[in-house]
């Protein structure tokens, strides 16, 4: 087999080597179990020979007892073989999954945008289980079947050399056939998969476009289209069934031919006195034992192939270099006296996938100040605030915190200083309290002087963060208050509630820099005003950067940047910008009108 030459295979070795003691013990049991299994036909042979020669009942009892003892001993060995080897494969699976997860945690946002969640999930599940099949069952079966093969053939040779040779003649053919059939089935199955994808695409289209389909009375045409694809799917499946249906009957036929040879030539050998009746029976039994290695060989090779392909797919993820990395220790810098929160953008330009998103943006925000970003969808506001905590990497020399380039700050320090509230926050399937305290323990652990996170203090902190985010009234109505589970497997929160949980989560982490990325868009204006009022005190102590569509949110900012297609087109305070009569003033007028409509 060419497999050991594959460099990817070597990288699996450390995972296997960790359990070498187990594998060694498992191999001993495997050897014993297989050897014992091969003894019983021989006992049968002795019994039959004795029966033809005449024997005592006591001796029969000996043989019967031997058979049971062999099976019992073999069973015990087999039990431990399975437990140890398959168990080791489960432990390797555990290691692999953990390492895979840890690698994922190092990758940056851009990577997760490039690679679909479903694809990554499939590598951590389906591919992983294919790899496990390769290091566990496939190894175990290939070892045990090769032993069976070698020993059984040796024993058969000892009974009758030339009969063995005749019987074995068709066997290489069987192995080749298994491979051939396997390949053909594989290729034809690929064609089924392709057709299934087509069938799904057709259904997907028609179901997603159901209104148009109905409006144009196109249901019959759509059914026809689907039917044609469905028919083709059956036709392709038939191609597989035809060849798959041939697979086992052909195997059985080949093995049957060997059995026929034994029956015919073996009988003649016995009659000629060159073999005993017992030899004849044992020979038949060994022949039956050979059938399985023949089949298993093809099965195991396909499992190894699938396993290697899956392993390579997993490696592709493990080997992906994170685009955003901690600065190397010698280049890392810390602001003198800790992070205060002065943010500076120096002629910041940024392109994503070759498209320029930001061009020449400069600004300075002093600690305690509020910077607001306004502008139409796609103007680059969100990208700008994503660059600060390095969700995407800004170019060097463009984004500074307290005079240090963010690329030179250790990620933990940088992100620990920033509280980021996104527009579409992701809450985890946990309680409200756990979601709010999401980042708290990390800060507690790092800032020792914060006095540890003893239960009461933590609970109090959660409550005050919830109150600051104006979520307290909502939480009071939840079935279990702060202990209510939210997210996919719990209470479904409204968009506004989710946003406020995310706000509380960021506030609890007590950041020097607070970023609200359109973070209150789903909250109604009245609640928003209440939140902003409560936040005012908090914001006075820190730097805040607020992205919003709403004039009401940004009007109090020390500085407002109006972005359009990645450039700053207007800059100033609310009053200054209104006076200019530009984009900002337009936006203000529109929102007044909308408010007027709401009242109507």
């Amino acid at each position: 087999m060419r497999l050991p030459l594959n460099p990817a295979a070597w990288r699996l070795l450390p995972y296997v080597a960790r359990y070498r003691a187990r594998f060694a013990a498992g191999s001993v049991f495997l050897l014993l179990a297989t050897a014992i299994q091969l003894v019983s036909p021989w006992v049968l042979k002795l019994a039959i020979d004795d029966l033809t020669a005449g024997v005592t009942q006591a001796k029969l009892g000996l043989y019967a007892g031997a058979l049971v003892a062999i099976a019992a001993l073999g069973g015990v060995c087999r039990f431990w073989m399975r437990r140890i080897i398959i168990g080791a494969s489960r432990l390797i699976e555990y290691d692999l999954r953990g390492h895979f997860f840890a690698r994922l945690q190092r990758l940056d946002l851009a990577y997760f945008q490039r690679n679909r969640t479903g694809d990554l999930m499939s590598r951590a599940t389906n591919d992983l289980s294919a790899v496990r099949m390769m290091v566990g069952p496939a190894l175990m079966y290939s070892a045990s079947t090769s032993i069976v093969f070698v020993v059984a053939v040796a024993l058969m040779l000892s009974i009758s050399a030339w009969l063995t040779l005749i019987v074995l003649l068709p066997l290489p053919l069987v192995s080749v056939a298994v491979r051939r059939f396997g390949d053909a089935i594989y290729h034809r199955s690929e064609r089924i998969q392709a057709q299934l994808a087509r069938l799904s695409a057709i259904a997907q289209e028609a179901l997603a476009g159901v209104r148009v389909v109905r409006a144009y009375g196109r249901e019959p045409a759509e059914l026809e289209r689907f039917e044609a694809a469905n028919r083709e799917y059956v036709a392709r499946s038939r191609a597989v069934i035809m060849i798959q249906g041939l697979f086992f009957p052909s195997l059985a036929f080949c093995l049957g031919l060997s059995a026929l040879v034994v029956l015919w030539a073996g009988t003649r050998e016995v009659v000629a006195g060159r073999m005993t009746a017992g030899d004849f029976v044992a020979f038949n039994a060994y022949l039956t034992m050979l059938a399985w290695p023949m089949i298993a060989f093809g099965w195991v090779t396909s499992m190894l192939q699938r396993g290697m392909a899956a392993w390579q797919r997993m490696l592709a993820v493990s080997d992906a270099e994170p685009g955003v990395r901690d600065p190397p220790p010698h280049a890392a810098r810390l602001p003198v006296g800790g992070v205060r929160g002065r943010v500076e953008l120096r002629d910041l330009s940024f392109a994503y996938n070759g498209e320029p998103v930001l061009q020449g943006v400069s600004a300075v925000v002093e600690p305690g100040q509020m910077l607001a970003l306004v502008g139409p969808t796609g103007s680059g506001k969100s990208t700008l605030v994503n660059l600060l905590p390095r969700l995407f990497d800004p170019p060097p020399g463009a984004v500074f915190v307290d005079g240090v380039d963010v690329r030179q700050l250790p990620l933990a320090v940088l992100r620990g200083a920033i509280g980021y509230v996104p527009q579409e926050p992701l809450l985890f399937s946990a309680t409200v309290a756990e979601n709010v305290a999401f980042g708290a323990a990390e800060n507690g652990r790092r800032d020792d002087e914060a006095g540890g996170d003893n239960g009461d203090g933590a609970a109090g902190a959660v409550e005050s963060a919830v109150a600051l985010a104006c979520l307290d009234a909502d939480v009071a109505r939840f079935p279990d208050g702060l202990a209510t589970t939210v997210g996919e497997r719990g209470l479904t929160l409204s968009g506004g509630q989710q946003q406020r949980v995310a706000l509380a989560r960021a506030l609890l982490a007590d950041p020097r820099i607070l970023i609200l990325d359109d973070a209150l868009s789903a909250v109604d204006t009245r609640t928003e005003e209440a939140i902003l009022a409560r936040l005012r005190g908090v914001m006075r102590e820190r730097t805040s950067i607020v992205v919003s569509h709403r004039i009401s949110t940004v009007r109090g900012a020390d500085q407002i940047l109006v972005l359009d297609r990645g450039r700053v087109v207007e800059r100033g305070t609310h009053d200054e910008l209104l006076a200019r009569g530009g984009l900002y003033a337009d936006l203000d007028r529109q929102q007044r009108l909308e408010a007027e409509l709401e009242e109507a």
């Binding site: 043989y63 019967a64 087999r78 997760f112 951590a124 069934i241 041939l246 009659v271 969700l391 990390e442």
Partner: protein, 611 residues
């Protein structure tokens, strides 16, 4: 969820039996194939039973007697059996596989056909992805049931019965000795099945948790990173990973015990056969050949039994899937054509009346409140309103994607609920904001309705919609393939295509919810002009996103919070300085500036050629 009853064992049994009966009904249309498969199974089983018997004959008649004459006969019989087995097994696998495939085909058509009829409201509640699962994954799970489950259970039973019969026939005493181990096999299998199932469930439970955690962590990785939660997320994940590994280690125990136990019981049977059979052979009441045959038969005894327990798992998976599939099939469409259509309304003039229409998608949350208006034949109506005013709902009701809660909608005085659905929808040409292109050629996408137009008609529609110039630039022209939902076409081009589609359909009433997509000024002008041609002389109901559309309408209905608040031509409404005026300021004023710029730039572009 709906799977809850499965956990209650006695209830589950009755419930499963009902599901299974319903599933088995799908075999009925294929009874000929089923008969062939069953015949092949019985024939194949019988032939396989003959093999050890031939060995017995070889031993008794030739090996023990030393007589070679007649051995050829046994060899020939063996060859016949081999060939017969080969053919019958092939027939068996093929026919069973095809029965499975044909049933999958039937089921897919049934589900898909049902999805074409079921209420549009159903799609609001069930994401397309989940409906897709019904058509694909769930149907596949049933394939296992039909292709390798139901019928092969029959094979196992035939095999078992056959072996028992042959043993009893050869020597009833020894047969009873061999059967003595059966209760133990049953006990061990029962023990294994119960525990393996529980262990399997535990493993599935952990896998579901691992998947959920993976999903959450992958989609929320930046949140994890921003809050520097990596270590704790890893610890949480590790707990699940460890639980999963442990559950698997536990389940290995059952497998590791079961297979050796079955082998041990088999060895006990063989030992008993040698002990008793050997004695009887010595007595001369049993031939040596029979003894050997007994041993071979008893070894074939255990395979069908352990197979049967594996079939149980297939059944479990199939039950869960069939439950979901039947759940969908049992949801009847409530919006259907009337049972007896009143005198076919003909094409009529097409006067549309909304009479005191109330509608809510959910409960009492009314989206339309007491809406009444009439659209005269040939009249062009614009619908204006802020987000949430109920504009799109009007279209949904008119095309009967939903039924009104109160009041009625009539065409030429006939309630639309009394008009067959296809006749009703045939009247309308719908142009939606989100232009929906299907895979296929440009031509297929234009000749979209059931009365697919001639080439000339398609061409004419494309010309009229100003779509021809860009279509002709595509490789293949009208026969160019539309890539994944028109990914290669620009928003403006898609819009023009949707106009061409509506024109080719030649509807009595045009219903528009056109988009204000960001298109370049040249395309904007093309769209505007095409739109003019589209609505010329046709009853039109348009949700007005475009200033040009609004201005050209005979009348504009202004909706606000589900109520019809103002109505009249553009100029009059503006003059009223009411809601419409505010809306105009909000939505259309900017376009005025833009279109002025657009026509200016067009004039500039044109002038050199003229000069």
């Amino acid at each position: 969820m709906a799977t809850a009853p499965l956990h209650d064992e006695p209830l589950a049994a009755a419930y499963d039996a009902r599901l299974l009966r319903r599933l088995l009904r799908y075999l009925v249309p294929h009874k000929a194939s089923v008969a062939v498969a069953l015949a092949a199974i019985v024939g194949h089983a019988l032939l396989r039973l003959a093999e050890p018997y031939l060995v017995k004959l070889a031993i008794d008649r030739h090996i023990l007697t030393g007589e070679l004459a007649g051995l050829e006969l046994i060899a020939a019989a063996m060859l016949v059996i081999l060939t017969g087995s080969f053919l019958l097994e092939y027939l068996e696998t093929y026919s069973m596989g095809m029965i499975g495939q044909r049933i999958m085909y039937d089921l897919r058509m049934e589900i898909y056909g049902h999805l074409q009829r079921i209420d549009v409201a159903y799609y609001d509640r069930h994401p397309v992805g989940r409906l897709m699962t019904r058509v694909t994954t769930d149907v596949d799970a049933l394939n296992d049931l039909f292709a390798s489950g139901v019928i092969s259970v029959f094979r196992d039973i035939v095999m078992l019965a056959g072996i028992m019969a042959v043993l009893l026939w050869m020597d009833w005493r020894l047969a009873l000795v061999a059967f003595a181990v059966l209760p133990f096999i049953a006990l061990v299998t029962q023990w294994f099945r119960r525990n393996a199932r529980a262990a399997y469930r535990a493993v599935r439970g952990w896998i579901a948790k691992i998947n959920a955690a993976l999903q959450e962590n992958i989609t929320g990785m930046s949140t994890v990173q921003l809050f520097r939660r990596e270590a704790r997320s890893y610890a949480d994940f590790d707990r699940l990973n460890r639980g999963h590994a442990q559950a698997n280690l536990d389940s290995i125990f059952y497998y590791a015990t079961f297979y050796p136990a079955v082998e041990l019981i088999g060895a006990v049977a063989t030992a008993a056969i040698i002990w008793y059979g050997g004695a009887w052979t010595l007595e001369g009441t049993l031939t040596l050949g029979s003894l050997v045959a007994f041993i071979q038969y008893s070894q074939r005894f255990f395979r069908p039994i352990s197979d049967l327990s594996e079939k149980f798992n297939i059944l479990q998976a199939a039950m869960a899937s069939s439950e979901r599939i039947f759940g969908l099939l049992d949801t009847p469409p409530s919006l259907v054509s009337p049972a007896v259509a009143p005198s076919p309304p003909g094409r009529g003039e097409g006067r549309i009346t909304f009479e005191h229409v109330w509608f809510a998608y959910r409960g009492d949350d009314y989206v339309l409140r007491d809406v009444s208006f009439t659209v005269e034949p040939g009249e062009r109506i614009g619908i204006a309103g802020h987000t949430g005013a109920g504009k799109t709902t009007l279209i949904n009701l008119l095309l009967r994607f939903y039924d009104v809660n109160r009041g009625r909608i009539a065409i030429d005085g006939v309630d639309i609920r009394e008009i067959p659905l296809d006749a009703l929808r045939r009247r309308f040409g719908l142009v939606l904001q989100d232009v929906f292109l299907f895979s296929g050629t440009i031509r297929d996408n234009i000749a979209f309705g059931p009365a697919a137009g001639s080439d000339a008609a398609v061409r004419a529609a494309a010309d009229a919609a100003h779509a021809s110039p860009f279509i002709d630039r595509l490789p293949g022209g009208l026969d160019a393939e539309v890539a994944e939902r028109g990914a290669t076409l620009s928003a403006g081009q898609k819009q023009l295509l949707s106009f061409a589609r509506a024109l080719a359909f030649d509807p009595q009433v045009l219903v528009l919810d056109e988009a204000t997509s960001n298109v370049d000024t040249a395309t904007e002008t093309l769209i505007r002009d095409a739109l003019h041609r589209l609505i010329a002389g046709r009853t039109t109901l348009a949700i007005a996103h475009r200033l040009s559309t609004v201005r050209d309408m005979d009348r504009i209905l202004v909706f606000h919070k589900g109520e019809l608040r103002e109505s009249g031509p553009h100029r009059d409404l503006l003059a009223q300085r009411g809601l419409y005026h505010t809306l105009y300021e909000l939505q259309y004023r900017d376009q005025e500036a833009k279109s002025a710029k657009a026509s200016a730039s067009l004039r500039l572009a044109d002038s050199p050629q003229r000069g």
